[in-house]
Amino acid sequence: MKTADKCLNNNYLRYVHLISPRTKELRSLFRAFWVGGFICSIGQALRFAFESGLGLQGDELSAYVSMVMIFLGALFTGLGIYDRIGKYAGGGSIVPITGFANSVVSPAMEFKTEGYIYGLAAKMFVIAGPIIVFGVASSVLVGLIYFGIYNIF
């Protein structure tokens, strides 16, 4: 009887082990999907509003939309709301441009005690620094490659 119990127990534990990470994972994917999609939809709503309300178009339109999104991301990080969204949504809150704003404000707030120059201003770029470095470097590289292509052909 006892051995049978143990056997059942082990089987059950193995079964739980097999099943539980999967459901957790599916849930995290679902959360990332709907929160990420929702944040992008806010951006799309802003696009419609600026297009019809202010008559903006093209590059100017998307520039102002990303400005407002970064503003919102920074504001919600300051209010402490974005970190809660992050805990819930994972990738859904990291990848949108609001997550970039979050990565600027969050460490800056934390290191404010070390001063406004070497604390706040320097730590703004703990995560954003690499993004700016790789972004600028890769865009210069793309520009040079295309300049080469246009001038050879």
């Binding site: 990303s66 990291i94 600027v104 404000v105």
Partner: protein, 124 residues
């Protein structure tokens, strides 16, 4: 007109959500940190636009493609490619000019909000 707007939102939601799901898959299956994920998505945006593909996603999904950080990479690459048509100077500065609003907003709003608000304890 109404259904057109609804359809645009559906496409935005689906594509934006899917890009975030890719990030979540990276978080689940690898141990890479969120900072590296941001760099990875930025560089994929640059690369996809450099080969001319990201423009199709932007045309299809609007903000669903431009709001994720890969859209920032798209902006950088697109600016550089447009500048390269004109001169060497604009080939180098074009990407930074196109993304200038993003940089300016992140730095200015980042500083202001970090100044105003205080960090909360990690407990809550």
């Amino acid at each position: 007109m109404f259904w057109e707007i609804v359809l645009t939102f559906v496409k935005t939601f689906a594509v934006g959500g899917l890009i975030c799901v890719i990030a979540q898959l990276l978080i689940n299956y690898t141990k890479i940190t969120s900072g590296k994920i941001l760099v990875f998505f930025l560089l994929s945006g640059v690369l996809l636009q450099a080969v001319g593909l990201y423009q199709y996603i932007v045309d299809f999904a609007g903000a669903g493609a431009t709001v994720p950080i890969s859209g920032f990479g798209y902006l950088l690459a697109d600016g550089a490619m447009k500048g390269a048509k004109e001169s060497l100077f604009k080939a180098i500065t074009g990407g930074i000019t196109a993304a200038g609003m993003g940089f300016a907003a992140a730095i200015v709003f980042g500083y202001i909000f970090a100044l105003i608000f205080h960090a909360r304890s990690k407990k809550n």
